[in-house]
């Protein structure tokens, strides 16, 4: 077993993980509207910990309520949430897995603003609307930047206080950090816009603030989009290149980051992330929740709902995918970044085959992989590999139905073909509700 690089432990500067498989950041709307996490989230995370992954990277955890991506996800914006996260950490640890909290801020990429945010434009690097859904935004003032930097630092501090194993800054996939980093999005004229160094200033400020707050001993990793390909909407700028990201990666390493997590794309979802299909027929019934989120919501809904309009969106979405594999879609970029830095590199992008991961580790493309959808399909994927399988018995089809169900339905696998019946599929979706919270009568002050 120890000969298999997948099961070789991975030593970061401040953290050791038992194997090379990370559950990538993914979740559902399990939590409370106030940002407090629930038993369901604990169940969700433990499901993968039980399946044998070395570490769980939480779903994005907003450091401020104004940075929520989807309402109903747990946040880390309040000190009184620390005990909740502590419970979650302990639960994951009980399954012999590490837990890394992904600190996040949506910026303008806010899918479901919820009651806290629906009345105001979101803060971003720019005041230009998000191009796909038309989410409104407002360029942050320097004071707002400073406040947000501090919020990240406090979020990291809360994670450490909760006994979690580290934090990851979600500086990929179009969220606030990308909105600063990207040459295709950031149109600022102050010291946070213009040159790459200026555009990276916000991320580096946050890293510095976190290190100030939690010291050098707490694991801190950064998730970067190696190539942005920001022109999904064809008239948008292409955004950062691999060369830009190599430079940012080096600056992160120098700033005291312990590891890099390599993804791709400046939107989420993006045609290349998560790779695979996009079930427009499912979007036609789940996108309605986003219609009111952005000024282009209704337009998109029409494109999804009416089959004769679907080719328009299909062209927009699928033109970038041509000739690209689904599994290991960004392995070359990961390899380039790993060559440029000395800290470990985690890669994400459709991994499901043990031999592909082994080759990636052995050839120096990455040190570990982060997986979401293939683990949702097979939470015991790591165990299946351990038993000698190269691929799971019933593999993930990359249909992305899990992704497009997220705004309205519980997170889980929606690929009916993978189940003996619809009932079996529903049962799989309901497993996260099995371990129930202990309910009690609230005090007078609590109601």
């Amino acid at each position: 077993m120890n000969d298999d690089p997948i099961f070789r432990e991975l030593r970061f500067r401040n953290l050791t993980v038992k194997n090379r498989i990370f559950r990538s950041n993914v979740s559902g709307r399990f939590d409370n509207e106030d940002g407090s996490l629930t038993q369901t989230r604990i169940n969700w995370e433990c499901k993968f910990a039980n399946g044998g992954v070395g570490a769980i990277i939480s779903s994005y955890v907003p450091v401020l309520m104004e940075g929520r991506i989807i309402a109903g996800y747990a946040t880390v914006h309040r000190d009184d949430f620390i005990p909740l996260w502590e419970k979650l950490g302990k639960a994951v640890h009980s399954f012999d897995a590490k837990f890394i909290m992904q600190l996040s801020h949506s910026g303008r990429q806010m899918d479901l603003p919820g009651v806290h945010n629906e009345h105001r434009p979101t803060l971003s690097s720019t005041s230009n609307k998000e191009p796909l859904h038309g989410f409104l935004c407002q360029a942050m003032s320097k004071a707002e930047i400073a406040r947000t930097v501090a919020a990240f630092a406090r979020g990291a501090w809360r994670a450490r206080e909760a006994g979690l194993d580290g934090v990851e800054l979600h500086a990929a996939n179009g969220y606030l950090f990308t909105q600063f980093l990207s040459s295709g999005i950031n149109d600022r004229t102050d010291e946070y816009g213009g040159s790459l160094a200026n555009r990276a200033r916000f991320l580096l400020d946050v890293i510095a603030a976190i290190r100030d707050k939690v010291g050098p001993k707490f694991h801190l990793q950064v998730k970067l989009s190696a190539v942005e390909r920001n022109n999904v909407i064809p008239w948008e700028g292409k955004g950062n290149t691999l060369a830009d990201t190599l430079q940012v990666a080096k600056w992160c390493e120098n700033a005291g980051v312990d590891a890099l997590h390599v993804s791709t794309g400046s939107l989420f979802p993006h045609p290349l992330n998560p790779p695979g299909d996009l079930p427009i027929d499912v979007l036609a019934v789940t996108y309605d929740g986003l219609i009111s989120s952005g000024v282009y919501g209704f337009r998109n809904f029409l494109l999804f709902r009416y089959p004769f309009l679907r080719p328009i969106f299909r062209w927009i979405w699928f033109r970038m995918k041509k000739g690209r594999p689904v599994e290991a879609i960004s392995i070359d970029e990961a390899r380039a970044i790993k060559a440029a830095v000395k800290i470990p590199v985690i890669n994400t992008g459709g991994y499901q085959t043990a031999s592909v991961i082994r080759d990636g580790i052995n050839s120096g493309a990455f040190d570990a992989v982060a997986i979401a959808r293939s683990l949702i399909a097979n939470p015991d994927l790591v165990k299946q590999w351990a038993s000698g399988r190269d691929k799971p018995a019933i593999p993930c089809t990359y249909c992305n139905k899990c992704l497009v169900n997220a705004p309205e339905n519980p997170m889980g696998c929606y690929e009916l073909a993978r189940f003996p019946s619809r009932d079996a599929m529903i049962e799989q979706l309901m497993t996260i509700y099995r371990a129930r919270p202990e309910l009690r009568s609230p005090s007078a002050a609590e109601v």
């Binding site: 603003p113 629906e118 009345h119 105001r120 434009p121 038309g134 409104l136 009111s292 989120s293 952005g294 000024v295 919501g297």
Partner: protein
């Protein structure tokens, strides 16, 4: 209650509702414009696919005014046709019609002159009215008994008034004339009654006029050098085959050998075609097929293998099969006629058939046969203008691969012996119209008039044919033109049959010929 929008997105939408409204207005305008474009394109398409031509109830009307398919390749747009008289007043002798060129106008039921003359047909070519000639142009003429008598129009007789040569030269001259440029032409067209809508104006400016002038320039480039070296064809005459060589086959005028350059001959009568079947047709007898002769004549009128209207040509050909010439108005002495018939039987009937009591008898040993030029001795220019090389191109290239493929053309060595039905309407005589009257034809060549007036349609009850007083070549005449037999192609020699008869016999023979 508060006026605050429910969400920021709703607030944005409220603030930007004007954009949506403008977008909707723009969209509505675009839809209206698109609909207008579709409607306009539909109208344009409907117009430009219209290639109709009138079909006349009576075959004679169709002969005079119906299309045989000459308009698409050779025609003149109707409104240019209507405008040319005002653009070239001198050419048209300051008339607002084409009578200056000998075109004949009938009157309609209300007594007004018809819009188009006999021999000019009208057809929509891609939606534009175009006119050009048909069979009747060259085969309809007039006669009068007295100068003050009514003018009678006879379909199928030779066109004794037509100056086709001058007409063609006028049209070709217009090709490169600035008066046919849009800025001059369009106002003149308006004055002539044209009411062009905007679509018409665009089509005229971009397609009709450029295409018409291009076609004219091309035809002019090919034909003008020949016209410049030929003597004018003269009234009632046309050079059938030389323009055909230049226009259809692209032969250059300067490459034509001198011997074949002059081919003008009289326009023939086309009565009674059925009895002529199997005879050698054309003056030189170069084709014994009525159908091929008809089609070849149509090409001479400007149809092409692509534009030919076979159905119309067949209708006219069928009608001409049994069309009789009108009876002679002459009333010669009956006894002289009887005597003259006997003379004719001996001297003429074997070659020409004979006139019976009520109808012409198309019987004769050598009727329809080619008489070698060495025997007949008439002017050989017309014979020489049809060559073996030209014949081969006719057979190889025209209507090749279709049922209309030419097969029967042949090169002959003389002129065919023609039936003489309707002889009273066919003067002047011989193939080149070089002998004014029947009486002159019965004279020895040296006694025949050297120059005479052509183009008078008053019949000559004494000498036969039309009145043809002597004239001096080169003098301007109020009517008709002076035919000069010394011009190449106009020689009046040959056909001396009957010239040596005794004076009494000759007078009797003439009396009999006046009954034809």
């Amino acid at each position: 209650m508060t006026d605050e929008p429910v969400t920021a997105v709703e607030g944005y939408r409220h603030e930007h509702r004007w954009r949506l409204n403008i977008a909707l207005i723009v969209l509505a305008l675009l839809i209206i414009i698109a609909l207008l474009v579709v409607v306009v394109l539909g109208i344009v398409l409907w117009r430009v696919t219209n290639n109709s031509t009138p079909t006349y109830a009576s075959a004679e009307e169709h002969f005079k005014y119906g299309s045989i398919g000459s308009e698409p390749a050779s025609g003149v747009p109707y409104w240019i046709w209507k405008t040319l008289p005002s653009l070239y007043p001198d050419e048209f002798q300051r008339r607002q019609d084409y009578s200056a060129f000998g075109f004949l106008y009938e009157t309609d039921a209300r007594g007004r002159q018809r819009d188009l003359p006999i021999g000019i047909s009208r057809r929509k070519v891609q939606g534009v009215d175009v006119v050009w000639v048909n069979c009747a142009t060259c085969h309809t003429g007039t006669w009068r008994e007295r100068p003050d008598g009514p003018v009678r129009i006879v379909a199928a007789m030779p066109s004794n008034n037509l100056d086709f040569h001058r007409f063609v030269r006028m049209i070709l001259r217009a090709a490169a004339d600035e008066r046919l440029a849009p800025d001059t032409l369009f106002p003149a067209m308006r004055r002539a009654g044209a009411r062009l809508d905007i679509i018409d104006r665009v089509i005229w400016r971009t397609v009709v006029l450029p295409r018409f002038r291009e076609g004219l320039v091309r035809t002019r480039g090919r034909l003008q050098p020949l016209l410049d070296i030929q003597p004018p064809w003269g009234l009632g005459r046309v050079d059938t085959f030389n323009p055909y060589k230049l226009i259809q086959f692209g032969v250059r005028a300067e490459d034509l050998p001198a011997a074949e350059r002059v081919g003008a001959a009289d326009l023939p009568a086309v009565f009674n075609q059925r009895p002529r079947a199997g005879m050698n047709l054309h003056w030189d007898g170069n084709n014994a097929s009525l159908q091929e002769r008809n089609l070849s004549a149509a090409i001479g009128a400007g149809v092409t293998p692509k534009t030919v209207d076979h159905a119309a040509i067949k209708r006219i050909a069928d009608w001409l099969m049994d069309l009789k010439a009108p009876p002679t108005p002459h009333r010669p002495d009956r006894a002289a006629v009887t005597r003259g018939q006997a003379v004719y039987r001996d001297a003429c009937a074997s070659c020409h058939g004979w006139q019976g009591e009520n109808e012409y008898v198309f019987v004769g040993e050598r009727l329809g046969q080619v008489e070698p030029i060495t025997n007949v001795g008439t002017d050989r220019s017309r014979l020489d203008s049809y060559t073996e090389g030209f014949r081969q191109r006719q057979l190889a290239e025209l209507f090749a691969g279709t049922p209309y493929h030419f097969r029967h053309f042949k090169k002959t060595n003389g002129y065919a012996n023609m039936p003489l039905d309707g002889l009273w309407l066919r003067g002047p005589y011989l193939h080149n119209g070089s002998v004014p009257t029947l009486a002159d034809l019965l004279k020895r060549p040296e006694e025949r008039p050297k120059a005479f007036l052509r183009g008078i349609d008053i019949v000559d009850p004494v000498n036969g044919g039309f009145q043809s007083p002597p004239c001096t070549p080169g003098t301007r005449l109020p009517r008709g033109e002076c035919f000069d037999t010394t011009v190449p192609g106009n020689a009046s020699g040959g056909h001396v049959y009957g010239a040596d008869l005794a004076a009494g016999d000759k007078a009797d023979l003439l009396a009999y010929l006046l009954t034809f």
